[in-house]
Protein backbone atom coordinates (compact mmCIF):
# COMPACT_ATOMS: atom_id res chain seq x y z
CA UNK A 1 0.00 0.00 0.00
CA UNK A 2 2.57 2.51 1.17
CA UNK A 3 4.68 2.34 -1.97
CA UNK A 4 1.80 2.58 -4.43
CA UNK A 5 2.26 5.34 -6.95
CA UNK A 6 0.14 8.37 -6.13
CA UNK A 7 -1.07 11.09 -8.43
CA UNK A 8 -2.93 14.37 -8.10
CA UNK A 9 -5.72 14.07 -10.65
CA UNK A 10 -8.93 15.79 -11.66
CA UNK A 11 -12.09 13.69 -11.75
CA UNK A 12 -12.07 13.91 -15.55
CA UNK A 13 -8.45 12.78 -15.65
CA UNK A 14 -9.18 9.86 -13.33
CA UNK A 15 -11.93 8.72 -15.72
CA UNK A 16 -9.33 8.61 -18.50
CA UNK A 17 -6.98 6.56 -16.32
CA UNK A 18 -9.80 4.17 -15.44
CA UNK A 19 -10.79 3.77 -19.07
CA UNK A 20 -7.23 3.04 -20.14
CA UNK A 21 -6.85 0.58 -17.26
CA UNK A 22 -9.94 -1.20 -18.62
CA UNK A 23 -8.34 -1.55 -22.04
CA UNK A 24 -10.13 1.32 -23.78
CA UNK A 25 -8.24 2.04 -27.01
CA UNK A 26 -10.72 4.18 -28.93
CA UNK A 27 -12.11 7.60 -28.05
CA UNK A 28 -14.30 9.74 -30.26
CA UNK A 29 -15.80 12.94 -28.98
CA UNK A 30 -16.61 16.57 -29.43
CA UNK A 31 -15.10 18.60 -26.58
CA UNK A 32 -17.61 20.32 -24.32
CA UNK A 33 -17.30 22.03 -20.95
CA UNK A 34 -17.10 20.65 -18.30
CA UNK A 35 -15.95 17.32 -19.80
CA UNK A 36 -13.15 18.63 -22.04
CA UNK A 37 -10.29 17.25 -19.91
CA UNK A 38 -11.51 13.74 -20.75
CA UNK A 39 -10.97 14.40 -24.45
CA UNK A 40 -7.64 16.13 -23.72
CA UNK A 41 -6.41 13.20 -21.63
CA UNK A 42 -7.38 10.67 -24.28
CA UNK A 43 -5.81 12.79 -27.04
CA UNK A 44 -2.57 12.88 -25.04
CA UNK A 45 -2.41 9.26 -23.94
CA UNK A 46 -4.06 7.06 -26.58
CA UNK A 47 -1.68 7.70 -29.51
CA UNK A 48 1.29 6.72 -27.31
CA UNK A 49 -0.19 3.28 -26.68
CA UNK A 50 -1.49 2.39 -30.12
CA UNK A 51 -4.98 3.67 -29.41
CA UNK A 52 -6.99 6.10 -31.49
CA UNK A 53 -8.37 9.51 -30.63
CA UNK A 54 -10.74 11.21 -33.06
CA UNK A 55 -12.34 14.59 -32.62
CA UNK A 56 -15.55 14.26 -34.61
CA UNK A 57 -17.64 17.06 -36.11
CA UNK A 58 -20.29 16.71 -33.41
CA UNK A 59 -21.67 14.40 -30.74
CA UNK A 60 -23.93 12.54 -33.19
CA UNK A 61 -20.88 11.48 -35.16
CA UNK A 62 -18.93 10.78 -31.97
CA UNK A 63 -21.37 8.24 -30.59
CA UNK A 64 -21.66 6.59 -34.01
CA UNK A 65 -17.87 6.32 -34.18
CA UNK A 66 -17.53 4.60 -30.81
CA UNK A 67 -20.34 2.17 -31.65
CA UNK A 68 -18.50 1.28 -34.85
CA UNK A 69 -15.22 0.89 -32.97
CA UNK A 70 -16.84 -1.36 -30.41
CA UNK A 71 -18.25 -3.62 -33.14
CA UNK A 72 -14.70 -4.11 -34.40
CA UNK A 73 -13.70 -5.33 -30.94
CA UNK A 74 -12.38 -2.16 -29.31
CA UNK A 75 -13.41 -0.91 -25.91
CA UNK A 76 -14.65 2.56 -26.78
CA UNK A 77 -15.40 5.74 -24.86
CA UNK A 78 -16.89 9.16 -25.33
CA UNK A 79 -17.14 12.05 -22.90
CA UNK A 80 -19.69 14.82 -23.07
CA UNK A 81 -22.08 17.05 -21.15
CA UNK A 82 -25.86 17.60 -21.28
CA UNK A 83 -26.19 19.17 -24.76
CA UNK A 84 -23.98 16.47 -26.27
CA UNK A 85 -25.73 13.71 -24.35
CA UNK A 86 -29.03 14.92 -25.84
CA UNK A 87 -27.60 14.78 -29.36
CA UNK A 88 -26.30 11.25 -28.74
CA UNK A 89 -29.62 9.81 -27.63
CA UNK A 90 -30.80 8.41 -30.95
CA UNK A 91 -27.62 6.42 -31.46
CA UNK A 92 -27.48 5.36 -27.82
CA UNK A 93 -30.78 3.65 -28.68
CA UNK A 94 -29.04 2.04 -31.64
CA UNK A 95 -26.38 0.71 -29.23
CA UNK A 96 -29.08 -0.70 -26.94
CA UNK A 97 -30.77 -2.37 -29.89
CA UNK A 98 -27.57 -3.73 -31.46
CA UNK A 99 -26.26 -4.71 -28.00
CA UNK A 100 -23.01 -2.84 -28.48
CA UNK A 101 -20.91 -2.18 -25.36
CA UNK A 102 -19.92 1.49 -25.06
CA UNK A 103 -19.22 3.86 -22.18
CA UNK A 104 -20.45 7.45 -22.15
CA UNK A 105 -19.25 9.83 -19.47
CA UNK A 106 -21.67 12.73 -18.99
CA UNK A 107 -20.12 15.50 -16.89
CA UNK A 108 -23.32 17.31 -16.00
CA UNK A 109 -23.76 21.06 -16.07
CA UNK A 110 -26.83 23.24 -15.64
CA UNK A 111 -29.56 22.85 -18.29
CA UNK A 112 -31.79 22.57 -20.23
CA UNK A 113 -30.20 23.45 -23.58
CA UNK A 114 -26.89 25.32 -23.33
CA UNK A 115 -27.86 26.22 -19.77
CA UNK A 116 -25.01 26.96 -17.39
CA UNK A 117 -21.92 25.62 -19.20
CA UNK A 118 -19.42 26.16 -16.37
CA UNK A 119 -21.71 25.28 -13.49
CA UNK A 120 -22.83 22.14 -11.78
CA UNK A 121 -26.04 20.11 -12.09
CA UNK A 122 -27.49 16.61 -11.77
CA UNK A 123 -30.51 17.08 -13.98
CA UNK A 124 -29.65 14.35 -16.52
CA UNK A 125 -30.39 11.55 -14.06
CA UNK A 126 -33.68 10.63 -15.71
CA UNK A 127 -32.26 11.15 -19.18
CA UNK A 128 -29.73 8.42 -18.39
CA UNK A 129 -32.69 6.06 -17.91
CA UNK A 130 -35.22 7.28 -20.46
CA UNK A 131 -33.21 9.41 -22.89
CA UNK A 132 -33.76 7.41 -26.06
CA UNK A 133 -37.13 6.22 -27.30
CA UNK A 134 -38.57 2.75 -26.91
CA UNK A 135 -38.36 0.04 -24.27
CA UNK A 136 -34.97 -0.94 -22.91
CA UNK A 137 -33.09 -1.27 -19.66
CA UNK A 138 -30.34 1.18 -18.79
CA UNK A 139 -27.25 1.16 -16.61
CA UNK A 140 -25.98 4.42 -15.10
CA UNK A 141 -23.49 4.87 -12.28
CA UNK A 142 -22.23 7.89 -10.33
CA UNK A 143 -18.87 8.28 -8.56
CA UNK A 144 -18.35 10.88 -5.83
CA UNK A 145 -14.57 11.13 -5.44
CA UNK A 146 -11.66 11.37 -7.86
CA UNK A 147 -10.56 7.88 -6.81
CA UNK A 148 -14.03 6.58 -7.60
CA UNK A 149 -13.98 8.31 -10.99
CA UNK A 150 -11.19 5.88 -11.81
CA UNK A 151 -12.72 2.75 -10.26
CA UNK A 152 -16.28 3.46 -11.40
CA UNK A 153 -15.09 3.99 -14.98
CA UNK A 154 -13.49 0.54 -14.77
CA UNK A 155 -16.80 -0.78 -13.44
CA UNK A 156 -18.65 0.95 -16.28
CA UNK A 157 -16.52 -0.83 -18.87
CA UNK A 158 -16.93 -4.15 -17.07
CA UNK A 159 -20.71 -3.74 -16.99
CA UNK A 160 -20.83 -2.63 -20.63
CA UNK A 161 -18.86 -5.69 -21.74
CA UNK A 162 -20.60 -8.11 -19.38
CA UNK A 163 -24.09 -7.05 -20.45
CA UNK A 164 -23.34 -5.89 -24.04
CA UNK A 165 -24.97 -2.54 -23.44
CA UNK A 166 -24.22 1.18 -23.23
CA UNK A 167 -23.29 2.38 -19.73
CA UNK A 168 -23.46 6.02 -18.67
CA UNK A 169 -21.14 7.40 -15.99
CA UNK A 170 -22.74 10.47 -14.46
CA UNK A 171 -20.28 13.05 -13.20
CA UNK A 172 -20.96 16.69 -12.57
CA UNK A 173 -18.87 19.84 -13.07
CA UNK A 174 -17.53 19.85 -9.51
CA UNK A 175 -16.62 16.14 -9.67
CA UNK A 176 -15.00 16.50 -13.09
CA UNK A 177 -12.80 19.41 -12.11
CA UNK A 178 -11.93 18.73 -8.48
CA UNK A 179 -8.48 17.33 -7.80
CA UNK A 180 -7.52 14.66 -5.26
CA UNK A 181 -4.44 12.58 -4.62
CA UNK A 182 -5.27 9.01 -5.56
CA UNK A 183 -3.43 5.72 -5.78
CA UNK A 184 -2.73 4.67 -9.32
CA UNK A 185 -3.74 1.01 -9.61
CA UNK A 186 -1.37 -1.58 -10.94
CA UNK A 187 -2.25 -4.46 -13.20
CA UNK A 188 -4.26 -7.00 -11.23
CA UNK A 189 -5.59 -4.57 -8.60
CA UNK A 190 -8.98 -4.39 -10.30
CA UNK A 191 -10.89 -7.01 -12.26
CA UNK A 192 -11.18 -6.22 -15.96
CA UNK A 193 -13.98 -8.00 -17.80
CA UNK A 194 -13.53 -8.69 -21.49
CA UNK A 195 -16.45 -9.48 -23.76
CA UNK A 196 -17.32 -13.10 -24.43
CA UNK A 197 -16.32 -14.14 -27.94
CA UNK A 198 -18.16 -16.77 -29.98
CA UNK A 199 -16.91 -20.35 -30.19
CA UNK A 200 -19.49 -21.54 -32.71
CA UNK A 201 -18.46 -22.32 -36.28
CA UNK A 202 -18.90 -19.56 -38.84
CA UNK A 203 -21.90 -21.40 -40.31
CA UNK A 204 -23.72 -21.97 -37.02
CA UNK A 205 -22.98 -18.57 -35.50
CA UNK A 206 -26.02 -16.55 -34.44
CA UNK A 207 -25.06 -13.02 -33.47
CA UNK A 208 -28.02 -12.56 -31.12
CA UNK A 209 -28.38 -16.12 -29.92
CA UNK A 210 -30.72 -16.59 -26.92
CA UNK A 211 -28.21 -17.77 -24.33
CA UNK A 212 -28.99 -18.73 -20.75
CA UNK A 213 -28.08 -15.28 -19.38
CA UNK A 214 -29.50 -13.57 -22.50
CA UNK A 215 -26.12 -12.05 -23.44
CA UNK A 216 -24.85 -13.35 -26.78
CA UNK A 217 -21.14 -13.87 -27.45
CA UNK A 218 -19.97 -10.97 -29.61
CA UNK A 219 -17.92 -11.41 -32.75
CA UNK A 220 -15.76 -8.54 -33.92
CA UNK A 221 -16.05 -7.35 -37.49
CA UNK A 222 -13.02 -8.80 -39.15
CA UNK A 223 -13.01 -12.03 -37.13
CA UNK A 224 -14.58 -13.90 -40.04
CA UNK A 225 -18.07 -14.21 -38.60
CA UNK A 226 -20.72 -12.75 -40.91
CA UNK A 227 -23.70 -11.08 -39.31
CA UNK A 228 -26.05 -8.18 -39.73
CA UNK A 229 -26.15 -5.17 -37.38
CA UNK A 230 -29.34 -3.15 -37.56
CA UNK A 231 -31.43 -0.86 -35.42
CA UNK A 232 -34.53 -2.55 -36.79
CA UNK A 233 -36.02 -5.18 -34.51
CA UNK A 234 -34.15 -8.33 -35.52
CA UNK A 235 -34.01 -12.08 -35.13
CA UNK A 236 -31.18 -14.08 -33.59
CA UNK A 237 -29.14 -13.74 -36.78
CA UNK A 238 -29.52 -9.97 -36.79
CA UNK A 239 -31.95 -9.76 -39.71
CA UNK A 240 -34.94 -7.47 -39.39
CA UNK A 241 -38.27 -8.97 -38.49
CA UNK A 242 -41.91 -7.94 -38.09
CA UNK A 243 -42.92 -11.17 -36.39
CA UNK A 244 -44.65 -10.59 -33.04
CA UNK A 245 -42.93 -13.50 -31.30
CA UNK A 246 -39.48 -12.36 -32.41
CA UNK A 247 -40.23 -8.75 -31.45
CA UNK A 248 -41.20 -9.82 -27.95
CA UNK A 249 -38.13 -12.04 -27.71
CA UNK A 250 -35.80 -9.18 -28.70
CA UNK A 251 -37.21 -6.64 -26.26
CA UNK A 252 -37.38 -9.20 -23.45
CA UNK A 253 -33.72 -10.00 -24.14
CA UNK A 254 -32.76 -6.31 -23.88
CA UNK A 255 -34.72 -5.87 -20.69
CA UNK A 256 -34.17 -9.10 -18.79
CA UNK A 257 -30.46 -9.55 -19.53
CA UNK A 258 -30.10 -6.66 -17.06
CA UNK A 259 -33.21 -7.08 -14.89
CA UNK A 260 -32.40 -10.72 -14.03
CA UNK A 261 -28.84 -9.92 -13.00
CA UNK A 262 -29.28 -6.51 -11.38
CA UNK A 263 -27.70 -7.71 -8.13
CA UNK A 264 -24.42 -7.75 -10.08
CA UNK A 265 -24.96 -4.08 -10.92
CA UNK A 266 -26.29 -2.58 -7.68
CA UNK A 267 -23.81 -0.68 -5.56
CA UNK A 268 -24.51 1.66 -2.69
CA UNK A 269 -22.96 2.97 0.52
CA UNK A 270 -25.33 2.73 3.45
CA UNK A 271 -24.16 4.45 6.65
CA UNK A 272 -25.69 4.46 10.14
CA UNK A 273 -29.30 3.86 9.08
CA UNK A 274 -30.13 1.28 11.80
CA UNK A 275 -30.96 3.81 14.53
CA UNK A 276 -31.43 6.89 12.33
CA UNK A 277 -34.48 9.15 12.62
CA UNK A 278 -33.56 10.84 9.36
CA UNK A 279 -31.85 9.24 6.37
CA UNK A 280 -30.29 11.19 3.49
CA UNK A 281 -30.50 9.71 0.00
CA UNK A 282 -28.09 11.16 -2.55
CA UNK A 283 -25.60 10.37 -5.32
CA UNK A 284 -22.52 11.91 -6.88
CA UNK A 285 -20.94 15.01 -5.35
CA UNK A 286 -24.00 15.64 -3.17
CA UNK A 287 -23.28 12.43 -1.23
CA UNK A 288 -20.14 14.06 0.14
CA UNK A 289 -22.19 16.91 1.56
CA UNK A 290 -24.64 14.34 2.97
CA UNK A 291 -21.90 12.32 4.66
CA UNK A 292 -20.41 15.53 6.04
CA UNK A 293 -23.77 16.68 7.38
CA UNK A 294 -24.36 13.23 8.87
CA UNK A 295 -20.98 13.31 10.63
CA UNK A 296 -21.58 16.81 12.02
CA UNK A 297 -25.15 16.03 13.09
CA UNK A 298 -24.15 12.75 14.78
CA UNK A 299 -21.51 14.61 16.77
CA UNK A 300 -24.22 17.00 17.93
CA UNK A 301 -26.36 14.06 19.04
CA UNK A 302 -28.82 13.76 16.15
CA UNK A 303 -29.55 10.33 14.73
CA UNK A 304 -28.89 10.67 11.03
CA UNK A 305 -27.96 8.12 8.38
CA UNK A 306 -27.01 8.23 4.71
CA UNK A 307 -27.66 6.18 1.59
CA UNK A 308 -25.40 6.90 -1.34
CA UNK A 309 -26.29 5.43 -4.72
CA UNK A 310 -23.31 4.42 -6.86
CA UNK A 311 -25.61 2.58 -9.23
CA UNK A 312 -28.46 4.89 -10.20
CA UNK A 313 -29.95 2.64 -12.90
CA UNK A 314 -31.23 0.00 -12.47
CA UNK A 315 -32.71 1.53 -9.32
CA UNK A 316 -32.32 -0.54 -6.16
CA UNK A 317 -35.85 -0.26 -4.75
CA UNK A 318 -35.38 -3.17 -2.30
CA UNK A 319 -32.28 -1.65 -0.74
CA UNK A 320 -34.06 1.71 -0.30
CA UNK A 321 -37.01 -0.04 1.32
CA UNK A 322 -34.79 -1.97 3.74
CA UNK A 323 -32.42 0.88 4.59
CA UNK A 324 -35.30 3.26 5.34
CA UNK A 325 -37.29 0.73 7.39
CA UNK A 326 -36.33 2.19 10.77
CA UNK A 327 -36.31 5.92 10.06
CA UNK A 328 -39.11 8.47 10.31
CA UNK A 329 -38.03 10.87 7.56
CA UNK A 330 -36.12 10.54 4.33
CA UNK A 331 -34.37 13.54 2.77
CA UNK A 332 -33.53 13.15 -0.92
CA UNK A 333 -30.86 15.67 -1.91
CA UNK A 334 -30.07 16.28 -5.58
CA UNK A 335 -28.96 19.11 -7.84
CA UNK A 336 -32.14 19.27 -9.92
CA UNK A 337 -35.84 20.02 -9.43
CA UNK A 338 -36.57 16.48 -8.25
CA UNK A 339 -35.73 13.29 -10.18
CA UNK A 340 -34.57 10.42 -7.94
CA UNK A 341 -36.98 11.56 -5.21
CA UNK A 342 -39.81 10.16 -7.36
CA UNK A 343 -38.16 6.73 -7.47
CA UNK A 344 -37.77 6.83 -3.69
CA UNK A 345 -41.43 7.79 -3.33
CA UNK A 346 -42.49 4.69 -5.29
CA UNK A 347 -41.10 2.42 -2.62
CA UNK A 348 -41.09 4.45 0.60
CA UNK A 349 -43.50 3.28 3.27
CA UNK A 350 -46.39 5.79 3.39
CA UNK A 351 -45.89 6.21 7.15
CA UNK A 352 -42.58 7.94 6.47
CA UNK A 353 -42.11 11.55 5.50
CA UNK A 354 -40.36 12.35 2.25
CA UNK A 355 -38.46 15.63 2.21
CA UNK A 356 -36.18 17.07 -0.44
CA UNK A 357 -33.24 19.43 -0.71
CA UNK A 358 -32.86 20.61 -4.28
CA UNK A 359 -30.58 23.10 -5.95
CA UNK A 360 -30.67 24.06 -9.58
CA UNK A 361 -28.85 27.40 -9.49
CA UNK A 362 -25.50 26.00 -10.62
CA UNK A 363 -24.04 25.66 -7.13
CA UNK A 364 -23.55 22.50 -5.09
CA UNK A 365 -25.63 21.55 -2.09
CA UNK A 366 -23.67 22.35 1.08
CA UNK A 367 -23.58 20.43 4.38
CA UNK A 368 -25.09 23.51 6.04
CA UNK A 369 -28.17 23.39 3.81
CA UNK A 370 -28.65 19.75 4.75
CA UNK A 371 -28.18 20.57 8.43
CA UNK A 372 -30.81 23.30 8.13
CA UNK A 373 -33.19 20.75 6.66
CA UNK A 374 -32.42 18.43 9.58
CA UNK A 375 -33.19 21.23 12.00
CA UNK A 376 -36.56 21.57 10.32
CA UNK A 377 -37.52 17.87 10.28
CA UNK A 378 -35.99 16.49 13.49
Amino acid sequence: MANKKKKLLQGNGACVEGAIYSGMTFYAGYPITPSTEIAEGCARLLPKMGGRFIQMEDEIASIAAIIGASVTGRKALTGTSGPGYSLMQESIGYAYMTETPIVIINVQRGGPSTGLPTKVGQADTMQARWGTHGDYNAIAIAPSTVGECLTETIRAFNLAERFRTPVTVLLDEVMGHMREIIEVPEKGDHEVFNRVKPTASHEEFEAFEMTENLVSPMASYGDGYRYNVTGLTHDTRGFSTNRTDESIQKLDKLFYKIENYKDEIFKSRVELVEDADVVFISYGTVSRAALQAMQIARKAGAKVGSIQLYTIWPFDYDMIKKATANCKTVVVAEMNMGQICHEVKKVLDPSKKLETVQRYDGEIITPMELLEKLEEVL
Binding site: L8, T118, V174, E180, Q295, I296, A297, A300, A302, L374
Partner: protein
Amino acid sequence: MAKLLDKIEIPHDRFEIRLSGSGGQGMIFGSVVLCEAVGQSGNKSVVQSQSYGPEARGGASKADVVISDSEIYYPKAMKLDLLLAMTQESLDKYFGDLKDHGVLIIDTSLVTDFPTDEYYGIEFTRLARNEIGSIVVANVMALGAICALTGLFTKEALTTAVLARAPKGTEDRNKKAIEIGFDEAMKIKKK
Protein backbone atom coordinates in the same frame (compact mmCIF):
# COMPACT_ATOMS: atom_id res chain seq x y z
CA MET B 1 -35.57 18.15 19.10
CA ALA B 2 -34.27 21.47 20.19
CA LYS B 3 -32.04 23.30 17.91
CA LEU B 4 -29.44 21.14 16.31
CA LEU B 5 -27.80 24.13 14.63
CA ASP B 6 -26.76 25.60 17.99
CA LYS B 7 -24.81 22.46 18.81
CA ILE B 8 -22.97 21.73 15.60
CA GLU B 9 -19.31 22.41 14.92
CA ILE B 10 -17.15 22.11 11.84
CA PRO B 11 -14.99 18.99 12.26
CA HIS B 12 -11.53 19.72 13.65
CA ASP B 13 -9.86 17.12 11.45
CA ARG B 14 -10.17 19.35 8.38
CA PHE B 15 -7.69 22.10 7.50
CA GLU B 16 -9.17 24.40 4.90
CA ILE B 17 -7.07 26.77 2.81
CA ARG B 18 -8.13 29.36 0.26
CA LEU B 19 -5.66 31.03 -2.07
CA SER B 20 -7.26 34.13 -3.51
CA GLY B 21 -6.19 36.94 -5.78
CA SER B 22 -7.03 38.15 -9.24
CA GLY B 23 -7.00 36.03 -12.39
CA GLY B 24 -3.39 35.67 -13.57
CA GLN B 25 -1.75 35.75 -10.13
CA GLY B 26 -1.35 31.97 -10.21
CA MET B 27 -3.67 31.01 -7.39
CA ILE B 28 -4.78 27.82 -9.16
CA PHE B 29 -1.20 26.87 -9.98
CA GLY B 30 -0.34 27.59 -6.34
CA SER B 31 -3.11 25.34 -5.06
CA VAL B 32 -2.07 22.44 -7.29
CA VAL B 33 1.55 22.74 -6.14
CA LEU B 34 0.40 23.02 -2.52
CA CYS B 35 -1.56 19.75 -2.89
CA GLU B 36 1.45 17.99 -4.34
CA ALA B 37 3.71 19.28 -1.57
CA VAL B 38 1.26 18.03 1.07
CA GLY B 39 0.97 14.73 -0.80
CA GLN B 40 4.73 14.22 -0.63
CA SER B 41 4.89 15.09 3.04
CA GLY B 42 2.77 12.22 4.32
CA ASN B 43 -0.37 10.20 4.02
CA LYS B 44 -2.93 12.97 4.15
CA SER B 45 -6.09 13.27 2.08
CA VAL B 46 -6.21 16.37 -0.08
CA VAL B 47 -8.97 17.88 -2.22
CA GLN B 48 -8.53 20.90 -4.47
CA SER B 49 -11.26 22.87 -6.21
CA GLN B 50 -11.17 26.18 -7.99
CA SER B 51 -13.25 28.93 -9.46
CA TYR B 52 -13.98 27.97 -13.03
CA GLY B 53 -14.98 29.61 -16.28
CA PRO B 54 -15.75 33.33 -16.57
CA GLU B 55 -15.40 33.60 -12.78
CA ALA B 56 -11.72 32.67 -13.05
CA ARG B 57 -10.86 35.38 -15.61
CA GLY B 58 -10.17 38.69 -13.95
CA GLY B 59 -11.85 39.77 -10.77
CA ALA B 60 -11.40 37.71 -7.64
CA SER B 61 -10.09 34.24 -8.43
CA LYS B 62 -9.82 31.51 -5.84
CA ALA B 63 -8.66 27.96 -5.27
CA ASP B 64 -9.56 25.92 -2.20
CA VAL B 65 -7.59 23.07 -0.67
CA VAL B 66 -8.93 20.83 2.10
CA ILE B 67 -6.44 18.67 3.98
CA SER B 68 -7.24 15.92 6.47
CA ASP B 69 -5.78 12.82 8.11
CA SER B 70 -9.03 11.00 7.43
CA GLU B 71 -11.51 10.67 4.56
CA ILE B 72 -12.59 14.09 3.29
CA TYR B 73 -16.34 14.19 2.85
CA TYR B 74 -17.38 17.64 1.67
CA PRO B 75 -14.81 18.69 -0.94
CA LYS B 76 -15.18 22.46 -0.65
CA ALA B 77 -14.31 24.82 2.17
CA MET B 78 -16.87 25.36 4.93
CA LYS B 79 -14.96 27.68 7.29
CA LEU B 80 -11.42 28.59 6.30
CA ASP B 81 -8.44 27.85 8.57
CA LEU B 82 -6.15 29.83 6.30
CA LEU B 83 -6.82 32.59 3.80
CA LEU B 84 -4.20 33.99 1.47
CA ALA B 85 -5.37 37.29 0.00
CA MET B 86 -3.21 38.71 -2.78
CA THR B 87 -5.53 41.64 -3.58
CA GLN B 88 -7.89 44.01 -1.80
CA GLU B 89 -10.86 42.63 -3.71
CA SER B 90 -10.16 39.02 -2.73
CA LEU B 91 -9.58 40.01 0.90
CA ASP B 92 -12.89 41.89 1.02
CA LYS B 93 -14.73 39.05 -0.70
CA TYR B 94 -13.41 36.13 1.34
CA PHE B 95 -12.44 37.49 4.77
CA GLY B 96 -15.91 36.58 6.07
CA ASP B 97 -15.24 32.91 5.26
CA LEU B 98 -12.23 32.78 7.59
CA LYS B 99 -12.86 31.28 11.02
CA ASP B 100 -12.15 33.31 14.17
CA HIS B 101 -8.39 33.49 14.73
CA GLY B 102 -7.79 31.73 11.42
CA VAL B 103 -4.47 32.33 9.68
CA LEU B 104 -4.74 35.38 7.42
CA ILE B 105 -1.85 36.08 5.04
CA ILE B 106 -2.00 39.30 3.07
CA ASP B 107 0.09 40.71 0.25
CA THR B 108 0.63 44.10 1.89
CA SER B 109 2.06 45.58 -1.27
CA LEU B 110 -1.41 45.49 -2.85
CA VAL B 111 -3.76 45.82 0.12
CA THR B 112 -4.46 49.01 2.03
CA ASP B 113 -7.64 48.37 4.05
CA PHE B 114 -7.45 45.68 6.69
CA PRO B 115 -10.57 44.20 8.29
CA THR B 116 -8.57 43.00 11.31
CA ASP B 117 -5.20 43.50 13.04
CA GLU B 118 -4.73 39.77 13.23
CA TYR B 119 -2.81 38.95 10.06
CA TYR B 120 0.57 38.15 8.62
CA GLY B 121 1.51 40.86 6.14
CA ILE B 122 4.23 40.25 3.58
CA GLU B 123 4.86 42.37 0.49
CA PHE B 124 4.95 39.40 -1.87
CA THR B 125 4.48 41.35 -5.10
CA ARG B 126 6.98 44.10 -4.22
CA LEU B 127 9.59 41.59 -3.01
CA ALA B 128 9.11 39.48 -6.14
CA ARG B 129 9.64 42.54 -8.35
CA ASN B 130 12.57 44.00 -6.43
CA GLU B 131 14.43 40.89 -5.26
CA ILE B 132 13.76 38.52 -8.14
CA GLY B 133 12.81 40.82 -10.98
CA SER B 134 9.47 39.18 -11.75
CA ILE B 135 6.09 39.50 -10.08
CA VAL B 136 4.94 36.13 -11.47
CA VAL B 137 6.73 34.30 -8.64
CA ALA B 138 4.73 36.14 -5.94
CA ASN B 139 2.42 33.12 -5.68
CA VAL B 140 5.33 30.73 -5.08
CA MET B 141 6.72 33.16 -2.50
CA ALA B 142 3.37 33.02 -0.72
CA LEU B 143 3.60 29.23 -0.66
CA GLY B 144 6.99 29.57 1.03
CA ALA B 145 5.29 31.70 3.68
CA ILE B 146 2.45 29.19 4.12
CA CYS B 147 5.06 26.47 4.56
CA ALA B 148 6.78 28.44 7.34
CA LEU B 149 3.55 29.46 9.09
CA THR B 150 1.73 26.12 9.04
CA GLY B 151 4.29 23.34 8.77
CA LEU B 152 1.78 21.44 6.61
CA PHE B 153 4.58 20.47 4.23
CA THR B 154 8.35 20.75 4.19
CA LYS B 155 10.30 23.32 2.23
CA GLU B 156 11.94 20.46 0.31
CA ALA B 157 8.57 19.02 -0.68
CA LEU B 158 7.43 22.46 -1.80
CA THR B 159 10.56 22.98 -3.88
CA THR B 160 10.19 19.59 -5.55
CA ALA B 161 6.51 20.24 -6.29
CA VAL B 162 7.14 23.72 -7.70
CA LEU B 163 10.05 22.64 -9.89
CA ALA B 164 8.05 19.69 -11.27
CA ARG B 165 5.35 22.06 -12.56
CA ALA B 166 7.20 25.29 -13.34
CA PRO B 167 8.53 25.98 -16.85
CA LYS B 168 12.17 25.10 -17.55
CA GLY B 169 14.57 27.95 -16.91
CA THR B 170 12.62 29.31 -13.95
CA GLU B 171 14.15 27.00 -11.34
CA ASP B 172 16.42 29.57 -9.69
CA ARG B 173 13.75 32.26 -9.54
CA ASN B 174 11.28 29.86 -7.97
CA LYS B 175 13.78 28.51 -5.43
CA LYS B 176 14.67 32.06 -4.44
CA ALA B 177 10.98 32.97 -4.14
CA ILE B 178 10.37 30.03 -1.78
CA GLU B 179 13.36 31.07 0.36
CA ILE B 180 12.27 34.71 0.59
CA GLY B 181 8.67 33.80 1.42
CA PHE B 182 9.79 31.29 4.03
CA ASP B 183 12.29 33.67 5.66
CA GLU B 184 9.94 36.67 5.72
CA ALA B 185 7.27 34.53 7.37
CA MET B 186 9.70 33.18 9.94
CA LYS B 187 10.67 36.74 10.84
CA ILE B 188 7.10 37.80 11.61
CA LYS B 189 6.19 34.41 13.12
CA LYS B 190 8.85 34.87 15.82
CA LYS B 191 7.54 38.28 16.87
